[in-house]
Symmetry: C2
Subunit: 162 residues, 2 copies
Amino acid sequence: MSDHERDKPETGEPFLADYLQFLLATASGLASHSFHVQAAAAGVSVAEWRVLACLSDCDGQSVTELARLAQMEQSRLTRVIERMDNRGHVTRKRCRDDRRKVHVWLTGQGAGIARDLVARARAHETEFIESCLSPAEGRRLKALLVKLIERAGKGKVHAIRR
Amino acid sequence: MSDHERDKPETGEPFLADYLQFLLATASGLASHSFHVQAAAAGVSVAEWRVLACLSDCDGQSVTELARLAQMEQSRLTRVIERMDNRGHVTRKRCRDDRRKVHVWLTGQGAGIARDLVARARAHETEFIESCLSPAEGRRLKALLVKLIERAGKGKVHAIRR
DNA sequence: CTTAAAAAAATGCATATTCATATTTTTCTT
DNA sequence: AAGAAAAATATGAATATGCATTTTTTTAAG
């Protein structure tokens, strides 16, 4: 432990180990990290993967919808999409009905990459869950998360099925 | 819905709504967002908040330990810490026993800010859980996350109690 | 005991991100 | 119907981040 007193009695109870937000962030990072490495090896950044995954589930979303679903700040998403557009992975079209909006679609190439990554993500998920939870626990965890998201995010999960 | 065919039959099953990694990231974002706004109002960025929280639980960690616990890339953490050092929120000292390492401590001022934010975070957590889950569900969710982290992260949660 | 390999932290530089704001279009008010 | 307010994107400029590399120190190998 060395010379530093790493354990001087901090005021009060231990915090992080029982703090939901920390547990969620940590679990999220652990669960995703090795897949993100795979995606990077395929030339796709985390932000781009999120866009691909969202569009693969529901193509043609607007920038704002996509930003919400992919948890990205709007101007950041605009630029992520721009790069993906330049590489030919997505296309944008201004909406006819509401010309403020811009909808985003996967191109053929983008859809191919997305299909491939989604398949790998599914496999990775299975493997990951097996590595740390029983199947029943995995299901319970997902169910709790869905409920949390439904209630806290006002139907964010269902939004993707529209 | 407009003129865009938002629902062209994408190949295969819906993906995100049942993808653990997406559910975790989304839940994490929803759970933390409004607290992060509070922290920002107090002049503390998300990265800084994580450092404060980690040190408040276990002061004097090394840069690498802290990076792991706070889920930050090492060189990023080095610079976050540097800024916090300049503002007088933390201090760094090279380790006597292993002079490669640099340990980080809260200053008096930093500790004050941390105490305040930790208290607010606890309150926010309580309020958040109440808003979307029953107390029992909250406990079960935490327990599942702890298990996941223990198994997938090789004791990451316990690491903070050392 | 000497040299090679590994570990920890810092840094340069290219790129990405954020924040505030501008622009365009739509919706609301009266 | 006119004008104000709101909504959706985009963009400029300051800042932050990631990646590869460097430096220093420690550990391992022969």
